[in-house]
């Protein structure tokens, strides 16, 4: 009962006059209603993009990776850029659901479900890139350590690329389990309310027979807490390991110890931007403004300005170290090729989008402005895509041999593949928004009495009185 009372001075997490049933109605309602026109339009566009992506990938597999504009100098181009970008986007979901749960941040309840879904879809998109980059993709299972017919030949456990295999697959599995175990009670709510037989049957399967027994809740809470405890270092480890793909190499521009924390901060930065993009649209279309409040948006903008600034400091540290280390190759990579070379434009896009523009969120008015937030979220995502592009391409396109210096622009199958992952992501998200409870119903009900607008108003008169009196009145009214 420790969540019984919270100061009225804090902004409520749920606006409006709500009781438990109203919460169910508001969040489950859209699942039971027919989707609007916008939903069909969005889903159609997404599916078309997805199909174009499938075509691009089929083309690439049929002809080989030669159809991509990668060459001997730039062996990683859009594919690995996109991989790191999508993985990074996934991170905000786990951050919101796990780290904020551990830190007892009540505001996560409004946004965690959608953010976790975003994580899963983003990791699905990310995983595609290294797999298709293998070229002979039917050999992809070679990355797994299994007893094979080629003698006792095993994978190289020293390789960061193999660490990636373990990191991404573990991350995906754990996120999926975390997400789905949280969904069980809400699926049960949909099932118990279902008016049609088909809905009752399908959500009956999805809810695994959840009833809400006290013992089950007790175990469920224990499970969520431990999964959060496991996911918190996991999310940090995943992007750290992704950064090892670069940091353990000896390429100037990659070989830096700052990469792990810098990548993690960047991942959270871009992830929160994507959460903003999705939730601003979702709350508008599904009418969930009272659950995903301005308070939520402001809180996430605070995370964006914090992580954006960390990323900014990392960029400047890199520049400083390139000069201070006295390494000529580092210096050239950073000052001549990155900031001023033929691909320099990408560096300045990155700097503008990631370091300068998020600083508007120092102002409260901007943090609480939906339009500004929406535009900023897109700018940040563009900026973070360019960060990965800058790291990969501007470190590779000019190596130690001037004779192999090159330039890089993507071919249509590379662009098509990238667009295809957008198709996959948004197809999944549209289906999620229609058929899943986009907000964790049970968790909202859990914080409703302490942080709902109407309950807060009721509590005003008790603000200066004794807690026990309040509890007593509640029990006997």
């Amino acid at each position: 009962m420790h969540l019984k009372y919270e100061s009225t001075l804090r902004e409520p997490l749920v606006d409006g006059v709500k009781d438990y049933h109203q919460v169910t109605e508001d969040i489950i309602g859209p699942i039971e209603a027919k989707p609007g026109k916008l939903w069909y339009v969005g889903l159609t566009i997404s599916v078309l993009l997805l199909l174009f992506g499938v075509f691009s990938v089929t083309w690439e597999v049929y002809w080989g990776t030669g159809v991509w504009n990668l060459n001997k100098t730039i062996g990683w181009g859009w594919d690995i850029t996109n991989f790191v970008w999508w993985v990074g986007i996934g991170h905000a979901g786990t951050l919101i659901s796990a780290i904020l749960l551990l830190f007892r941040q009540g505001w996560r309840t409004g946004v965690n479900r959608a953010a976790e879904a975003m994580t899963i879809f983003a990791v699905m998109c990310a995983g595609q890139f290294p797999i298709w980059h293998m070229g002979r993709v039917w050999m992809a299972f070679f990355v797994l350590p299994y007893p094979n017919t080629r003698g006792p030949l095993w994978v190289n456990f020293n390789s960061p690329l193999l660490w990636d295999v373990f990191a991404i697959s573990t991350y995906f599995t754990v996120s999926l389990l975390f997400w789905y175990s949280g969904l069980l009670p809400d699926f049960a709510t949909v099932r118990d309310r279902a008016k049609t037989k088909l809905r009752k049957y399908l959500y009956g399967i999805a809810s695994f027979g959840w009833t809400g027994s006290t013992k089950h809740w007790q175990r469920h809470e224990a499970l969520s807490l431990v999964l959060a405890g496991l996911s918190t270092p996991l999310v940090l480890s995943v992007h750290t390991i992704v950064s090892f793909d670069f940091a353990t190499s000896v390429i100037p521009g990659w070989h830096t110890t700052i990469f792990p924390p810098y990548f993690v901060a960047g991942a959270i930065f871009s992830g929160f931007a994507m959460v903003q993009t999705l939730l601003i649209i979702t709350r508008k279309i599904l009418g969930l403004e009272e659950y995903i409040t301005l308070g939520h948006i402001e809180a996430m903008n605070k995370v964006i300005v914090l992580t954006g600034s960390i990323v900014g400091v990392a960029y400047l540290t890199e520049l400083f170290m390139a000069w201070y280390s006295g390494s000529r190759y580092e210096f050239d990579t950073f000052y001549k090729f990155r900031a001023a070379g033929p691909l320099g434009w990408s560096y300045w896009i990155m700097m503008t989008c990631n370091v300068l523009s998020p600083q508007v969120f120092w102002f409260r008015k901007m943090r609480r402005n939906i339009m500004v937030t929406f535009i900023m979220s897109i700018i940040v995502n563009i900026g973070m895509w360019f960060e990965r592009f800058v790291i990969i391409c501007t470190s590779l396109y000019r190596d130690y041999l001037p004779s192999s210096w090159g330039y890089y622009r993507p071919s249509w199958p590379e662009v098509g593949f990238y667009l295809g992952t957008f198709g996959l992501f948004f197809t999944c998200y549209f289906l999620f928004a229609k058929y899943f409870p986009v907000i964790a119903v049970a968790e909202i009900k859990h914080v409703l009495k302490t942080s709902g607008q109407n309950y807060k108003e009721k509590m005003v008169k008790y603000e200066l009185e004794d807690n026990d009196k309040f509890a007593h009145d509640q029990a006997h009214h």
Binding site: M1, H2, L3, D19, Y20, H21, T24, P145, L153, W154, N156, F157, N158, W163, F166, A167, T170, T173, V174, F178, S181, P185, A188, T189, R191, D192, R193, G204, I205, A206, F208, G209, W210, T211, G212, S213, T214, K215, H216, W217, Q218, R219, H220, E221, A222, L223, V226, L227, L230, S231, P233, L234, S237, F244, A442, K445, H446, A471, Q474, A475
Partner: protein, 197 residues
């Protein structure tokens, strides 16, 4: 299959539910379960349930993952196929850390979720008896099992006195999904002597 009888009382506020649970327990009635739409903190203690050991299970699974990863990679690189990869040592412990960590988390998470599913008897296609359709919406449903010593009317009256809004009686077929019915000796329908005769 055997059938059991229950008295089902619904409460609409957890603040009323708590004292009711305590009173019903001290009156000596057997609470089969309380179904709530969200986790009500402290309800497990009020009902006298013991703490879950799921954490301990998770720890054991995690340790299993750590040992599996470390011993497997060490065996591969030192015994089964000591390959020279760029002149690196055969037992590079620091390079084993990332995979060891990932497998620790993976084993712990997967193990815990499966244990959770097993303990709660949850799986796709499992159907359990729902005592009140609103127990997952806005009602807190207390289910009291009728035994040889209890009379339905008495329990109903008592539930009413402690603040239940809606009270009814339900007969439920005892299957494995309803707890440990089939393992218990005295089932309601097998009773030979009338209640409180």
């Amino acid at each position: 299959m055997a059938v059991k009888k229950f008295v089902v009382g619904s409460f609409d506020d957890e603040a009323v539910l708590f004292p009711a649970v305590k009173k019903v327990r001290s009156a000596g009635y057997k609470i089969h379960d309380v179904y709530t739409p969200f986790p009500v903190h402290g309800l497990d203690h009020a009902m006298g349930l013991r703490e879950t050991s799921l954490h301990t299970a998770g720890f054991i699974y995690g340790i299993t993952g750590t040992t599996t990863a470390l011993s497997f990679m060490s065996w591969v690189f030192t015994t089964d196929w000591p390959m020279n990869i760029g002149g690196k040592p055969h037992f590079p412990l620091p390079a084993f850390i990332p995979i060891t960590f990932e497998l620790t988390v993976l084993f712990a998470a997967v193990g815990m979720v499966m244990t959770f599913m097993y303990l709660c008897q949850l799986a796709p296609f499992v159907k359990k008896h729902v005592f009140h359709p609103r127990q997952s919406d806005d009602l807190f449903v207390m289910v009291i099992e009728l035994t040889e010593k209890t009379r339905a009317e008495e329990v109903k009256a008592y539930l009413d006195s402690v603040g239940a809004k809606e009270i009814n009686e339900q007969e439920v077929e005892a299957g494995w999904w309803l707890g440990r019915f089939d393992k218990e000796d005295k089932l309601f329908s097998q009773r030979t002597t009338p209640v409180n005769a």
